[in-house]
């Protein structure tokens, strides 16, 4: 892999809860992103995927405590907190928020809103900014004369394109896209995905695609990480995740997802994820797993290298554990 443009190193996030308790939302997440790579972060609600990327952007609320490193081209931008993250936000790392298309200010034109990050960062203003807004709009497939229109004059798909244009305004190196197609119709979803793929291709932009939808990751990303209960339980090439998963959760998640042509039964995963406001003992997935054995309820599995950049946190991959159990 080329030197990563962005890396998360052992990222932890805790949220303060009332009565001095803490919720350990992200529990030691590490991954790297090569320039131009499309990386998927997949998991169910509450698994910490959104918290992880908000952490990368330094956008967590004051009730959150963060530990670990966010390394942008070799520099830990979390070293001095907000003062070291702020210069990189939007300029190097940009984000499309979940529901961004519904977050435009209704009384300002789309063009003015796209120009805003450029003005805030002193990249350009006035006519130059207007010129750039036109380019950005065309880049995402909207004609430049629509810059003077208001959000209500755009369809959902068009507003999502505008949100992408806004994220690209300062020419970032990394784009974090949080469920960018979730509220859209299938056909519009396909259009937006096609746009994101061509943008990463044309601009050499690296992208983290955050979604609960495995097939999306399978079709868009080269590599992906599966999150469960605040940690990455498996990471690798999407082909490997589908054809040779190293963690039962990944396998069961694929088995729970209906596919158009595969007529084999789809099966749900019993139970639900563990609470994150208490310490997890053993494997967090053990209570729902179909392959548990002796160590699972008591020993927490670590990510294990399975070769070719494929890692998984499951005792089944540990020959020593398996030998001891049998």
């Amino acid at each position: 892999m080329k030197a990563p443009v962005l890396e998360a190193r052992d990222l932890h996030v805790w949220f303060d809860l009332p009565d001095d308790r803490e919720l350990h939302a992200v529990q030691g997440v590490s991954f790297g992103l090569a320039p131009g790579e499309r990386f998927g972060l997949v998991g169910e609600s509450g698994c910490g995927k959104t918290t992880t990327i908000l952490g990368l952007m330094g956008l967590l609320p004051p009730t959150a405590s963060v530990a670990g490193q966010v390394v942008l081209e070799g520099d830990n931008i979390m070293a001095r907190g907000e003062s070291s993250v702020a210069p990189h936000r939007w300029k190097d790392i940009a984000m499309i928020f979940q529901g961004a298309m519904n977050a435009f200010n209704p009384v300002k034109t789309i063009g003015d809103q796209i120009a805003e990050p450029m003005e805030v960062h002193g990249i350009s203003e006035g006519d130059a900014a207007r010129q750039r807004v036109g380019e950005l709009l065309e880049m995402v497939g909207i004609s430049r004369d629509r810059a003077d229109r208001y959000p209500h004059e755009f369809s959902g798909g068009m507003r999502q394109r505008a949100a992408i244009a806004m994220a690209l305004a300062c020419e970032p190196k990394v784009l974090l896209a949080d469920e960018p197609t979730t509220a859209l119709d299938v056909m519009v979803q396909a259009q937006i995905l096609q746009l994101l793929v061509s943008l990463t291709h044309d601009l050499g932009l690296a992208m983290v695609l955050v979604t609960h939808d495995l097939p999306l990751i399978a079709q868009v990303c080269n590599r992906a990480a599966v999150m469960y209960a605040g940690e990455i339980v498996e990471q690798g090439e999407t082909e490997t995740l589908y054809h040779d998963p190293g963690h039962p959760y990944t396998r069961l998640l694929f088995a729970a997802t209906p596919d158009l042509y595969d007529e084999s039964n789809v099966t749900s995963i019993p139970g639900g994820p563990p609470r994150l406001d208490r310490e997890i003992i053993g494997c967090p997935f053990a209570p729902r797993c179909d392959r548990t054995f002796e160590p699972c309820p008591t020993v927490r599995p670590e990510l294990r290298d399975l070769g070719a950049g494929h890692t998984a946190a499951c005792h089944l991959n540990d020959p020593v554990m398996r030998a001891a159990a049998s």
Binding site: V188, Q189, H212, P215, A218, E237, T257, D259
Partner: protein, 335 residues
């Protein structure tokens, strides 16, 4: 089967039209501006048998939810007939509908919104019995438990005294299903029943609907998700701008789509296998506004195969020349 021995479908919808007027406002009315309408459902027909699941599939604005609401008589159709167990219910009044409501129930997309947060599970499920005067005070607890068991919430004692906020999304949707099962309906309309739920619990809810279907219930499922429809429905009807453009056995529609819209829709469904490199056929633009419906075939402005005839001819559903089964039909002059 009715009492006189005549066989008819559980639900038979013919030429259903439902439109919503767009408010003109005072100025518009004074100025005599023409009354505009949203053409939500524009003449659709389908039938549903006992023990069958029909999926109405389409993008937002295609009229699938309006169809479901019209069938349930939650909105007033403009014309057409809705025959439930053989009798036309499309013009029945509120009072006459009431006994029918027991026999046809609807569950909604969002179990976070559809349950009263101040009701315990017991109250939520008992309420329909009270409203319809079903059962006695002493046998209702038994019926409530039975409904919970049928909805897969076992043992019922574990759930019966809980509030919605103490339940997961999947459990809430099961409570909503239990509240409709308690009246022992013959028809269940499920409007996007799993789209708000996590992937790992969706299959459980869909499996439950499948089990109810096998028990003889007729299920009309509204969904935007073709993969779900392909897996669980017996038949699929694809809607576009208020019309059914293709209808047939689920397998035939998915594996041998005939209408250009269905073909495109199927091609863009993301596949689970990253090695699947089939080229998505992405249509340009978005579904037009259902106020101004295009002339002729309503799909012609976006159709990749459009012919000069298409803006003039409004095609009817018919069996394709190379169709695999006679009950697979598509509305396109090219089929």
């Amino acid at each position: 089967m009715s009492t006189n021995g005549q066989v008819h479908p559980l639900l038979e919808v013919s030429d259903l039209v439902t439109r919503y007027p767009i408010p003109r406002g005072i100025l518009g009315t004074v100025a005599g501006r023409p009354q505009q309408q949203v053409h939500a459902v524009e003449g659709i027909s389908f039938s549903l048998n006992q023990g069958e699941m029909l999926a109405l599939v389409g993008e937002s604005g295609c009229g699938k939810t309006t169809t479901a609401q019209s069938v349930m008589r939650l909105v007033q159709p403009d014309s057409g007939s809705i025959r439930f167990e053989g009798s036309d219910i499309s013009t029945l009044g509120f009072r006459e509908l009431r006994p029918l409501r027991k026999r046809m129930q609807i569950i909604y997309q969002d179990p976070y919104e559809s349950l009263d947060p101040r009701f315990r599970v017991r109250q939520t499920i008992e309420e329909p019995l009270v409203i319809h005067g079903v059962g006695t005070r002493s046998d209702r607890p038994h019926r409530v438990k039975e409904a919970l068991v049928r909805a897969g919430l076992t043992p019922p004692e574990l759930y019966i005294d809980r509030y919605p906020h103490e339940l997961s999304g999947g459990q809430r949707q099961r409570v909503a299903i239990a509240a409709s099962l308690v009246l022992d309906p013959k028809l269940l309309v499920a409007d996007e029943p799993v789209s708000m739920l996590d992937v790992s619990v969706r299959a459980g809810i869909l499996g439950l609907l499948d089990a109810l279907r096998k028990d003889g219930m007729g299920i009309l499922m509204i969904t935007h998700d073709l993969s779900t429809a392909a897996h669980f429905a017996d038949r699929i009807a694809v809607m576009y701008l208020g019309r059914i453009v293709e209808e047939g056995p689920a397998r035939d529609v998915v594996r041998n789509p005939q209408h250009p819209y269905t073909k495109a829709l199927i091609s863009v469904v993301p596949k689970r296998d990253p090695r699947d490199s089939s080229e998505p056929q992405i249509l340009k633009g978005e579904t037009p506004n259902p106020v101004h419906i295009p002339s002729g075939c309503r799909f012609h402005p976006r159709c990749p195969l459009v012919t000069p005839e298409c803006p003039r001819i409004d095609p009817e559903l018919r069996t394709p020349k190379d169709g695999t089964t006679p009950d697979h039909r598509a509305a396109c002059i090219l089929v």
